[in-house]
Amino acid sequence: MTESGLGRADKLSRRALLRTVGIAAGSLATAPAFNLFPASAQEKASTELPNFTGPGANPHWNSVGPIISEPQKAPLILLTDRPVQLETPRNYFASAFTPNEAFYVRWHLDRIPNAVDLKSWRLRIEGNVSSPQALSMGDLLRKFRAETIAAVNQCSGNSRNRLQPRVPGGQWGNGAMGNARWTGVKLRDLLNAAGMKSGSLQVQLQGLEQGEGPEGMGSRAFMKSLDLDNPVIDECVVAYAMNGEPLPMLNGFPVRLVVPGYFATYWMKCLTWIRVLDKADENFWMKTAYRIPDTPRGTTTPEAVKAGGVKTVPIGRLPVRSFLISPDGGGKIPAGMGVTLRGVAFSGFSRIAKVEISDDDLKTWKTAQLGEDFGAYSFRTWDLPWTPKTAGKYSIAVRATDEKGNGQLDEPVWNSGGYLWNKVERQEFVVGAAE
């Protein structure tokens, strides 16, 4: 939680207090009994979130949109409705796997599929190949070996609303991420079936999504490409199942590409065209969008961007992140009562090796217990018993380290795309008197 976050909470409680005092003084005759409680006891019920945050950082765990209900989805936080962008509420991250109906949604262009006809739909593998393929869902289910992998899908712009100064774009809180067991066909098996010809350089991915823009522009088609010499090609899965069920339409039915360890921009939804290219893809979504500064942590400054000359590269693997999910700070903890801190951690580089917690402003760290290991690219749950001895305000910080030694710093990230945020997270707790 940031300084401004603290300031805001204080301001809200002052406002709530004033309101309570006003009601108590001005309309004693009709004042219901609950107004006898101090404002702090009512804060959650009486404080409505604003419709936007800023220009400071969003102090909340999630973004602040309304809760809405889309086809096949649980009520989620609305960022935009055309095209659809929905954020997953914090409570869904208490377990290693995110339910399909709660999985966040992010589309780029407004003509997204409402219906897909599997009698005519074919996954096409074309381009620089000797035998182009057009495979039905039945072909994918029967003709190829099924592969299952647990992998985190995180939007490149997850937590964009933490950046200072704020940057335009989808104003995600922390909930543009999810973890699922993905089942499908290995991309390598499909490329082998089509027989890549010599000179092949990249594989381009396109789904059914279309936009209203002119032909040849990024506003018409969304396409991403991966280098064929990238080792991740051998880990990619064209997934027809998500947590053992068909994909929700909004998450990419009938199939989406799973690129373990990589940001979601490459995980093409409603994947329909796999094109083998013999030269580098220069479409807007590769050449201009989803690029990060070629600097440590991908961080730079507005001044450096304005001055020009910040070299960029396509966004790639997920930096290490860790989150405290529960308790969420919405209630007070009595002094002396033990609670269990719980959350998840992940890395796009290797297995999570360690999750640590500090309750003294990062001076000392305690190691949390890690939950079941579902593979290097999965969420790893963690928990740690915590017993605050005395009343007061506590700030709990969480950080993770992966097996390759990648960790998290307590320093912000800034780039003009609003990507790669992975600063150490904090959660405030108020511990009250118990006697």
Binding site: G54, D81, R82, R111, N114, A115, R122, R166
Partner: protein, 134 residues
């Protein structure tokens, strides 16, 4: 690109016209709804077709601020996306809004006459900067 109404968008979506549409899918259909209702899972009819659909996606009033330039902003921006792309943003400096309008025209090909693009930028300055946002 001509300025398209949502209805035309629906028609195109429903008939599957488009450079890359080689199969009969339904794309981009939305219908206006009010906030506050929770949908329940829909039942599907058994048929011999291969159609897997979910119906329309709901859209909601974005709540653009009242003022000069609101109509132009609503109409032009809605040809490609909900104006909620504006209301979702934090307060942004005027220069950032200018750059966004230019990006829509130059990078994404939105056909907005220069005079209207200026009206939209002015509207954004008057309602969505750190100094003006309410």
């Amino acid at each position: 690109m001509k300025l398209r109404t949502l209805c035309l968008g629906l028609l195109i979506g429903a008939t599957g016209i488009g450079c890359v549409a080689i199969v009969e899918h339904q794309l981009g259909t939305y219908s206006a709804q009010n906030l506050g209702k929770i949908s329940q899972p829909a039942k599907h009819e058994l048929g011999d077709d291969g159609l897997y659909g979910v119906g329309d996606y709901p859209t909601f009033e974005a709540g653009l601020a009242e003022g000069a330039g609101r109509a132009e902003t609503q109409i032009y921006c809605s040809s490609c996306h909900t104006p909620r792309y504006i209301t979702m943003q934090p307060p942004l400096p005027a220069a950032t809004w200018d750059a966004e309008v230019q990006k829509m025209v130059k990078t994404f090909g939105a056909t907005i006459p220069e005079a209207d693009a200026q009206k939209i930028a002015q509207y954004l300055h008057e309602h969505y900067t750190p100094e003006t946002r309410k």
